[in-house]
Structure formats: C-alpha cells, structure tokens
Symmetry: C2
Subunit: 355 residues, 2 copies
C-alpha cells in the first residue's frame, strides 16, 4: 500500500551511506557542499519526510500530547481545545483528544491508553464521576508530565490552570441579588469536583455578605453533570415544588444551564417572571435563547493555551520539576434577559459586571 521514501532509498539511489544522507539533510558541516546539494535536491524531488515514528523511537518522545475532557460537544471544551491546538501546533506537537463522557471508567482507560501510547504529556479536566486519582498519581509519580485545567484535584502536585470559580459564583449570585432576587437556588455538578466546590463557596459567600440565610434545600447536585437529563429534571422539579419556592436559579455548568432552561420551559414556568436563571456557559447561542441567558463566561481559549504552555514547559524541562504553579484566570458575567430586574423587568446591560 502506501510507501513513503526513506533515507535508505536516497542513500541507495545516490550511492551514499545512510549516515551521510542523514547528515546532509541536517546540514552538517562535515559533508561537502556538492553532496549536500545533491542529497537535498533528491529529497525534495521525491518529497522525503523523516519517518516520525522512527524518530519517536530514537528520541523516546512522540511530540504529541494527550487531552482528556468529558466531551468536546461542549463549547467550553471545544474552545479550550482550540487554545490547546493553537499552542501545540506552533510548538510542533500533535494533539490527541479523548472523551470521558463524565465516566470514571472511561477516564481511566483513556489515560492509560494515551500514556502507553507514548504521548509526551497529558492535559486533563477531570470527569464528574471521578473521585479517586490513582490513575493520575501512578503516572505523575513516575515523572510523567500532567497539567490539569478547569476541573482539578488537590491530590496531585502539578501545574494547574483554572478560572476564578469562586468569584464567578460570587458575582453571578450578587448579580441576582442586585436584580432583586433573594431566594436563590444553586444547581451544580458532582460535589467533589473542584469547580462545583468553588462556585458553591462563591454562591454562599455572596448570600452571607447580603445577610441572606443559606437554605440547604436550595442546593442541588447532579452527579453526572447533566449528562443524564432525568437526574437534572428531578432536581429542577424538586426545587420548584418546594413550599418556599426559589425565585432564581444559579446553575454551575454549560450543560446544566441549558438543560435547566429546557426543564423550566417544559414545566411551563416563565423566565425570569416565575424564576430567574443565571448559568455558567461559553456557548454563543445563549444570546439567542428564549429568554437570552445571563451567563458567566470563562476564558476557555486562554485556559487551553496557558495549560498547553505549562505542559510543554514540563515536557521540555531537562531536570525533574518540583515547583508547580496554579494559574487563575478571570471570569466575566454577561447580563441578559433571564435575570432581568425583578421590579422593573429590565436588564441593565450597561451594568455588565466584569470580574
């Protein structure tokens, strides 16, 4: 089938040894300029490309990095991947993407598959189901480069890149309070995820700072991050059936937010008249929704870029790295109609809260 030209073919055709050809191609000074010219011209004519697999074997690195996210059909992650790709390609790395679909088992399999497949490093956002980290720890302890982004764990000491989830949660909640809402529920993902914890803390802090009592029955976890619609639907129904019904929901995730809107509409509630909604989302489509959704936007592209730069720094470092950093990027609340002022019914976009 498909056969590429090798250094051997060139050597044979030109009556040289492979080492001479190799050195000529790399422009070594110990090859005469005539020979060099001859080799280079022949190589160009036959479109010679060094076999990257042979190089990988020799250099013990594959110039590729693995990405493990829950799903690419999520604007936050596809934007982050664009950031990853932009840096990786410029630095000569390939990107291999795999999806955990929020499943612990698939995450483990993917991580082991990628590592044994000799990627030089891993970029990971932990799945919603994952609450053990041996599969990362094993690799990390052996010196395998890993950088976590978005969803991280304290259990492993390495570079991390996150959004300021605390502030995002705080700002979103404060915005709802400013718009006149007091009974604010919080719909979030698995409680052990870093993003859930931090956004929840921001939410609670904003309530406290405004002397609003925290109502634990207003806080709902969806352990599958919205991958199972029924789980989310139950949580939403549970909220709107409470005796003391909330007048607003702050949801902490792209999929969660959109599904929540769908569930509220299915129930027949008017937004924001019956219940307001603010969510984390990176989809440009929330602008076009009915109503348009107030959302906390994360710098996904930058997060991907930063994480990739850190990973490549780890990979290319000569000695083992022991000093790790955690980079925090800022979020932005974009005010739209789903959280219009409870009294005036208007949203004040000029008051766009930038955190």
């Amino acid at each position: 089938m498909y056969e590429a030209i090798t250094i051997k073919d060139i050597a044979k055709a030109l009556g040289l040894s492979t080492s001479t050809v190799s050195r000529a191609l790399r422009g070594s000074h110990e090859i005469s300029s005539e020979t060099k010219k001859m080799v280079i011209e022949y190589a160009e004519q036959f479109n010679y490309r060094p076999n990257p697999i042979a190089l990988s074997l020799k250099e013990r690195r594959s110039h590729s990095i693995g990405v493990v996210v829950c799903e690419i059909a999520n604007n936050f992650f596809s934007q982050a991947i664009n950031g990853i790709e932009s840096v990786a390609y410029n630095r000569g790395y390939h990107v291999i993407i795999s999806q955990s679909h929020e499943s612990y088992d698939r995450e483990v399999v993917n991580v082991e598959h990628l590592a044994s497949r000799s990627v030089d490093g891993l970029l990971v956002s932990i799945s919603a189901e994952t609450d053990r980290f041996e599969h990362f720890k094993n690799l990390h302890d052996k010196g395998f480069p890993i950088v976590f982004f978005d969803r991280i764990t304290d259990g492993i000491e390495t570079h991390k890149v996150v959004a300021d989830n605390y502030k995002g949660g705080y700002d979103a909640t404060q915005h709802l309070i400013d718009a006149g809402y007091k009974k604010i529920a919080h719909l979030t993902s698995a409680s052990h995820l870093s993003i859930s914890r931090e956004r929840l803390e921001g939410y609670k802090a904003a309530l406290r700072d405004n002397n609003i009592t925290i109502n634990e029955s207003y806080i709902k976890n969806c352990n599958h991050g919205g991958m199972i619609y029924k789980e989310l639907e139950d949580a939403v129904k549970n909220l709107v059936n409470l005796k003391d019904k909330p007048d607003a929901i702050f949801s902490a995730g792209d999929r969660l937010t959109v599904s929540c809107l769908a569930a509220l509409k299915a129930i027949g509630l008017k937004i924001p008249d019956d219940i307001a909604l603010v969510g984390f989302s990176n989809s440009p489509l929330v602008e076009l929704m009915n109503p348009s959704l107030t959302s906390v936007k994360q710098p996904a592209f930058e997060m991907g870029q930063t994480a990739t730069e850190l990973l490549i720094k780890l990979i290319e470092s000569k000695r083992a790295v022991t000093e790790f950093e955690t980079i925090v990027l800022q979020t932005e609340v974009i005010v739209r109609d789903s959280s219009a002022d409870k009294i005036t019914g208007k949203n004040n976009k000029s008051k766009k809260a930038v955190s």
Copy 2:
C-alpha cells in the same frame, strides 16, 4: 524522566532472550508453560506494556486515524466525531483530530502533517474554501486510505458517506411552502461545496414542483461558511432590503443558521411573522431559541460511525481496493416555531416531516 519497562528488562531480569520473552508474552506454543508463566507473571507485576511506537515502526502502521474537519465547536462535527471515536476505539485505533477552520491552507497543512505523521488513514470533510484537491489526490494515488464524509468531492474515487442533502433541501423548502410561504430565499455556503450544491438543487426542485419561479437574487452564498459574520450579515441585509422581500429563508448550515437568526434579530425582524427561517442544524439548543428553530437534522453520529467503518475496511484490506461506495443517510425535518403557518400562526408538529 518517565521510563517504562521493556521486553529487554524482562529478559535480563529473568535470564532469557528478548525473543523468548516476546513469544512467551504472545502465548506462542514453542515456549514451555513454566517459562511462559514466569514471564507473564513478571510482566504483570511490573505492568509491562508493549511500546506502541516500536510496534508501529515494525508493522509500518500506527493504529491511528486522522480526522480533518472545519471545526469541532459545531454540533454536527462533534457528534460525527463521537461516532468516529466509538467505532475507532472498539477497533483499536486512535483518533487524531485537526481543524481547518474553513481555510484551504490549514487543510493542506493538516493533511500533510497527519499523513507524514503516519496515520493509517484519513477521514475528511472538506473545508469551505477548498476548491482544489491535489493534496488529497497525491495521497490517494499512492494508495493512502481516505474516506470523505459530509462534504465530499467528485474528483477523487474513494468511499464517501453523506446525508441526503438534496432531499433535506427539498423537504425543508416544501415544508415552508406547505406553511404558506412562497418567497423563499436560500442562504448557503461556498457554491463549490457538495453540500451547498445538493441542498440548492433540492431547494430549486421543490420550488419548481410547486410552480414557484426561481429568483436568483434570493440565493446567497457565504464563501466562508459563516466563519466571517460580516459576510453573512451583508447577505441577510441584502435579502431583506430587496424590493420584493422574501418571506422565508432556508439556510444550509449550522453556523449559517444560527448567525442568520442573530442577524435577523439584530435588524429587528420578527420571526416568523416578518420572515420565517428553516435551517440545517444539529444543535439541541435550537429547540430553546427564540423562536425555536425548525431545522433539518443530519444523522451525524451514524455518519461518523459509517465513515470510520469504511476507512478501517480500507486500511485493513490486503489488496488495493478499486470498488468504492457512496453511502447516503437520511435527514429529518424537525418542525418548530420559526416556520409557523403563515395563516394560522401555529406550527403543526404532528405533521413532522420525516424524510
């Protein structure tokens, strides 16, 4: 840094030769059961994994397939990739994704990068800018396995998987006609793309079958497939500023449809009262839009699966394949509010047109 255990390490530790270890691990009959047992136990204890790069070099294949699409932040493609992944994974192949961002140059670079990077085959949906195909032809002529999906070209004889774009275009247009619209405009991508051509033909056929004259000024091409908002905005403005303004738009692409909705809203038109809208889209979010969008949905996941199965068949075929097939999958029109009946103002979802 990170060092994995090799067959040599096992051989040394056990006082055997590498070939014996290799055979023991593969369960060869010519190794005594005691030796086998010893080797296998040692390998398991130290978590031996064959080095896939060495295997690739030896077997002259990488067990990975390359995917070239315009962008993954598009539901059609992320769903297709899920389909690709599901099949590839089960068959022991890795998936390497790259994005052309609708640019011809980036597509060429990606294709060459992937091919030289020794992927065993390529799954391609052509970029909107691409109107030359040498970069595929060169590879294909050398026997390199390529399968096209969604956006294909007649220029290259290989397996292809597409949606029934003609029927999708026909059904969407017929649906608008049935709902009482007569002045139907068509917003589409670059005219040389197969999907544009086929959807346009379906559109024209439906008009003809209903004795509606085709108005060429109602047909607008966006050569960048909606990647450049200005281009699309100009096309929409041009349409609504026509003397004989259209009363409906049929748009032929995910990004085009959503941007069109945004543009119409920005202009201040009411949908469907001022102008109706039907588009191709695979986003579940169009259900939640204002208004909810009638859309033609493609079997993206199945398309990815089918294309991958065909590609793996090509890759694993012993002799050169000369018989190629083109598989056509069916589309589905999902009726929502953006194309509500012109007279009654209601959408008749029960009349859900299934093509």
